[in-house]
């Protein structure tokens, strides 16, 4: 019995930037793309001097699924499930950012209830995303208990969102000009329960991690980046805020209902791993605070705009009225007719600025859908966070950067 079934040599998909060490005692180490530290699919080729990383060459693209090409073959509506799978930790934010971009291009104004509901769900999704990031990064540093606590909350959130949307991870809940459907009965009550439970569990995480000697030693003053460097390398979101800049699109260029909410923007001091962890923890608290305000503010009313260019007619009318039947047919077969033009809309996703650049040629199919994905840009500057630190620090740095394969490679 042979170990290998074939003797075929397998090709290497990437070409490293360097293959000889720059110094005599340098060693070149390959990490990934299938490695416990690179959750997701990333390859880091690092040159080490002893334990220290001298140079790092970051390769991504192992999850390039042809998102943009796939979009060009779908109508504006039917590509929403693809959009959800960009950042699968917070799929709702992706969907809403995309719908917002299309609505801007069409000149559609969403209804007040949808505006508040989208804000609420974006924040809820942000909590799930930060939980995933923190859970994964602390687990890689050995904190299994914290991981299990956080997973418990996240599962409640997932099940709760499944009650609303029908799916646990990838929801396809946003629609152009509205949402798929209204809240089910008792949803808000359960939401309040989960928020209360969340506070108790996150208190335990603070107790386990914040002053934990091992955790602090692994994260304090590791992966430090200055504000100037962070902006130069295009970092946005919690990474930029951890350097001390309160740059947050929710405050700077308010969209949805954020200008009516009271919230703080947590910032760090050093721009190191610990700050990134703490900024995320504090942001979750702010999200909870915002959700509680939004529950109070949520108005009654319709979910979808009354605009036959994008909203599907009522099912009952489709079966009884010829106009509605034709409208439904045209929306399904041709897609919503989006006026020709270009638009760039950005939302503050959990990782940073998530921008959609859409080009329409006036038909029901997009001419181009481009995503400005925060993770991809962060990977371009990741080597700045790795160089000069120890090999083992790659794990903690990579965890707090929170690279999401789906949106990084698209």
């Amino acid at each position: 019995m042979t170990m290998r079934d074939t003797e075929e040599t397998l090709p290497t998909p990437v070409r490293p930037a360097f293959d000889t060490p720059s110094t005599e005692d340098g060693v070149i180490v390959n990490i990934g793309p299938s490695h416990p530290a690179t959750h997701g699919t990333l390859q880091i080729i690092a040159e080490l001097s002893g334990e220290k990383v001298v140079r790092a060459d970051v390769h991504c693209g192992y999850l390039h699924r042809g998102f943009e090409k796939e979009c060009e073959a779908h109508t504006w509506h039917t590509l929403i499930p693809y959009v959800d799978r960009l950042n699968y930790c917070s799929a709702l934010i992706n969907g809403f950012a995309y719908c917002d971009a299309v609505e801007t291009l069409m000149g559609v104004e969403i209804t007040p209830r949808t505006r508040y509901l989208r804000t609420l769900l974006s924040e809820y999704s942000r909590i799930a995303d930060h939980i995933t990031c923190i859970a994964a990064s602390v687990m890689e540093l050995g904190a299994m208990t914290a991981f299990l606590y956080l997973m418990t909350i996240r599962d409640w959130i997932y099940e709760h969102l499944a009650d609303l949307t029908g799916a646990r991870v990838t929801y396809s809940y946003g629609r152009i000009g509205g949402l798929a459907h209204d809240l089910p009965e008792g949803w808000i009550k359960r939401l309040e329960e989960i928020l209360d439970e969340y506070e108790e569990y996150v208190g335990r995480i603070h107790g386990l991690m914040d002053r934990n000697r091992i955790f602090i030693d692994r994260t304090r003053n590791v992966g430090v980046i200055s504000t100037e460097q962070a902006i130069h390398w295009g970092f946005t979101g919690p990474i930029l805020r951890s350097t001390g800049v309160p740059r947050d699109l929710r405050r700077d260029t308010p969209y949805l209902a954020y200008d009516e909410l009271d919230f703080e923007i947590p910032v760090g001091i050093n721009g190191d791993n610990y700050d990134r962890y703490y900024v995320r923890m504090r942001e979750m608290d702010e999200s909870v605070y915002m959700i509680r305000q939004l529950i109070e503010m949520l108005p009654e009313g319709p979910i979808n705009v009354d605009d036959r260019r994008c909203t599907f007619p009522d099912k009952k009318l489709v079966y009884t009225e010829i106009e509605s039947l034709i409208n439904h047919f045209k929306l399904v077969i041709d897609g919503p007719q989006v006026p020709a033009g270009e638009v760039y809309r950005a939302h503050e996703a959990a990782n940073g600025e998530l921008g959609f650049f859409l080009v329409s040629d006036g038909t029901g199919t997009p001419h181009k859908v481009h995503v400005r994905a925060p993770s991809f840009v962060h990977m371009g500057g990741l080597h700045k966070l790795l160089e000069g630190y120890q090999l083992a620090d790659i794990i903690s740095t990579f965890g707090t950067v929170n690279m999401i394969g789906g949106e990084c490679d698209r």
Binding site: T12, T41, Y62, E70, M151, D155
Partner: protein, 164 residues
């Protein structure tokens, strides 16, 4: 198998019982290698943590070295860029080994039908269990694990036959 052994019914009976014994032991000590790439990873995290707990099936401890694992869970989309790595990792695993295609992308490419996505990992490596869903709910993952256990319990374990 040796033809001489087949004529003696007693020995055949014995080896069958051995297979059952080994299968029973193996099915409760699955060491998964999570080949995690995409969205399904979220459900993989859920299924291996408190709420669903794959430890109940003896499949809790992920081994991140292919040499130490016997179940490869391919969690998420495999692209053409990733395929050589998948195959390399599979070839590094020791026998006996099983492969689970977790989610519809690993099974068939899912709704990605384009230049980048591999149309199912079974084009590159053999697969034992397919779990449908995009991503599958934890319950269907557990169902998949149980089906795999069933398969392990009822298959022959040829190393034993050769040695004994």
């Amino acid at each position: 198998m040796n033809a001489a052994h087949e004529r003696t019914g007693a020995f055949e009976y014995l080896t069958t019982r051995k297979d059952e014994l080994v299968g029973w032991a193996r099915k409760f000590s699955i060491f998964p290698y999570p080949f995690v790439t995409a969205c399904c990873a979220m459900e993989f995290m859920s299924v291996s943590s408190t709420m669903y707990d794959t430890d109940r099936f003896g499949a809790a401890l992920p081994r991140f070295s292919p040499r130490q694992s016997d179940l490869m869970m391919v969690v998420g989309t495999i692209t053409h860029k990733q395929a050589p790595i998948l195959k390399k990792v599979y070839e590094q695993m020791c026998e006996p080994k099983w492969v689970m295609a977790f989610g519809v992308c690993a099974t068939s490419g899912g709704f990605y039908r384009n230049y980048a996505a591999l149309q199912g990992i079974d084009k590159v490596i053999p697969v034992d269990v397919y779990i449908p869903g995009c991503p599958p709910r934890p319950e269907s993952v557990i169902d998949g694990i149980m089906q795999l256990q069933d398969k392990i319990a009822h298959s022959r374990h040829p190393i034993i036959n050769e040695k004994f």
